[in-house]
């Protein structure tokens, strides 16, 4: 096992919440990142998605991070910052290399949310949402699960009063 800090298969208790709801959590994270990030550029340099795209890899790392922080400030970002945000595939390699107590993976996720227009501000990226995402999930469940399995597994008790037909 590569992680000496924990025993294999050990279940991890979850810590108590630090925020009241997801929006508040993301606002707290935004403040933490804006105050903790020193724009050293290490996260950009080690990102596998940057390394895979030569045009993006040629960009200045510190400028790219600065551009991402501009998004968190709800300001217009550089094309390379937006390209990086759009390409993030949550490898998490950045988190392993960041010298500060912030998560660049969370930074990029927040920047994507804000670039989509979440948390206020003007949208700078077009979201790629599949309008049939949940329709397909329901459809595949109907194709392969029995009626009893669908009822027991996919309908939460709290939903039963107003459950789907």
């Amino acid at each position: 096992m590569s992680d000496p800090d924990r025993r294999a298969g050990e279940a991890r208790p979850l810590d108590p919440p630090v925020a009241d709801g997801v929006e508040e959590l993301f606002l707290l994270e935004r403040e933490r990142i804006l105050s903790g990030c020193t724009q050293c550029g290490r996260c950009f340099e080690v990102c596998p998605m940057v390394q895979d795209e030569p045009a993006l890899a040629a960009a200045d790392a510190k400028s790219a991070v600065q551009g991402v922080l501009e998004i968190l400030h709800a300001r217009r970002a550089s094309p390379e910052a937006l390209a990086w945000v759009a390409r993030c595939a949550k490898s998490g390699v950045c988190d392993e290399h960041c010298p500060e107590p912030v998560s660049p993976k969370m930074m990029l996720r927040l920047a994507r949310i804000m670039a989509y227009g979440g948390l206020g501000g003007t949208a700078q990226l077009g979201a790629r949402e599949d309008p049939d995402f949940f329709n397909k999930v329901h459809a595949f469940a109907r194709l392969q699960l029995t009626g009893e399995e669908r009822e027991q597994w996919t309908v939460a008790p709290a939903s039963r009063l107003g459950k789907r037909p």
Binding site: A89, L145, A156
Partner: protein, 294 residues
């Protein structure tokens, strides 16, 4: 998959009660879902199975934060209401979202771990169930671990080695991202990844590629049906070794592509709705992750 029957319930004494959290998209793969449930049962785990939109983690809704927040809250409440002290997630996105977002924003009175971690924890019992030879030299389809605390690639290599006849070949290439779904939205990157994956598997002399996650399986089974490389999910290989077998219908649909309607059958098409089949399912079956350059 090999022939075989589902395990009869109630044959193994129950040693632990958990919530088994499927997520949403693994519902494409009924064989994987059913095999997981049977494996848990054979290990003596009483699993309350939950999944689908009622238990969605919300991570797919980053473009609509109000919806994501509502889903996260509802799922935290539904998981708590399930009343089990331990939640075991199949989906890496759900697991990460629970750790990184939901549990930090809502009360979550349970522990969380991944399905592969539970199998590793019970590897001695699992090894006894893996009785049939599965003679395959396999390469694991690796991404970067979705959580630094879950060394998923090492765990899977260890689990696969429990299957009699399976040899795990170690390559050096690791695909970007934590699973294939983000790459699927970037076709040139997906093509490069598939090309490197197939080339490495061939250079190692692998008989097959083994996927960890449903999302990778859904994409890469397209390599299988096009004859580039056989692709299995690790749970399918375990089921085969245990003598429990299910048809991998998704693979058959993928092979049939836009001509999959006869496989679905009239009754199931009517149940799902033909317009949805035409609009969303058939294009998915027809999509391929890689077209080698001639």
């Amino acid at each position: 998959m090999d022939g075989g029957a589902r395990l009869a319930p109630g044959k193994t004494p129950v040693s632990e009660a958990i919530t088994f959290w499927l997520g949403c998209n693994v519902l494409r793969h009924g064989d994987i879902v059913h095999a997981c449930v049977d494996i848990l049962r054979a290990l003596g785990v009483d699993a309350k199975v939950v999944g689908g939109p009622d238990y969605c983690c919300g991570s797919v809704k980053d473009a609509n934060l109000a919806t994501e927040a509502g889903m996260a809250k509802r799922t935290a409440q539904n998981m708590a209401a399930a009343g089990r002290a331990r939640v075991v997630a199949w989906c890496p996105s759900c697991h990460a979202q629970m750790n990184e977002v939901i549990s930090r924003a809502h009360q979550t009175p349970f522990s969380i771990g991944h399905f592969a971690e539970l199998l590793l924890e019970r590897r001695a019992e699992l090894a006894k169930l893996l009785a049939r030879e599965v003679p395959l030299r396999v390469m694991l389809h690796e991404h970067h671990a979705y959580d630094r605390r879950v060394p998923i690639n090492a765990i899977l290599a260890e689990l696969l080695a429990l299957i009699p006849g399976v040899t795990v070949l170690q390559g050096s290439y690791r695909a970007p991202g934590y699973m294939c779904s983000p790459l699927a939205a970037m076709p040139p990157l997906m093509e490069r990844m598939c090309g490197r994956t197939v080339a490495q598997a061939r250079s190692l002399g692998a008989d097959a590629l083994v996927t960890i996650y449903h999302q990778c399986h859904r994409e890469l089974v397209g390599l299988d049906v096009d004859g580039h490389l056989p692709v299995h999910n690790y749970v399918q290989l375990m089921a085969r070794s245990m003598g429990i077998g299910y048809a991998d219908e998704y693979r058959a649909w993928k092979a049939a592509g836009s001509g999959a309607k006869p496989l679905l059958g009239e009754a199931r098409i009517a149940a799902v709705g033909e317009a949805l089949v035409d609009r969303a399912l058939l294009p998915e079956f027809a999509r391929r992750p890689w077209t080698p350059k001639r």
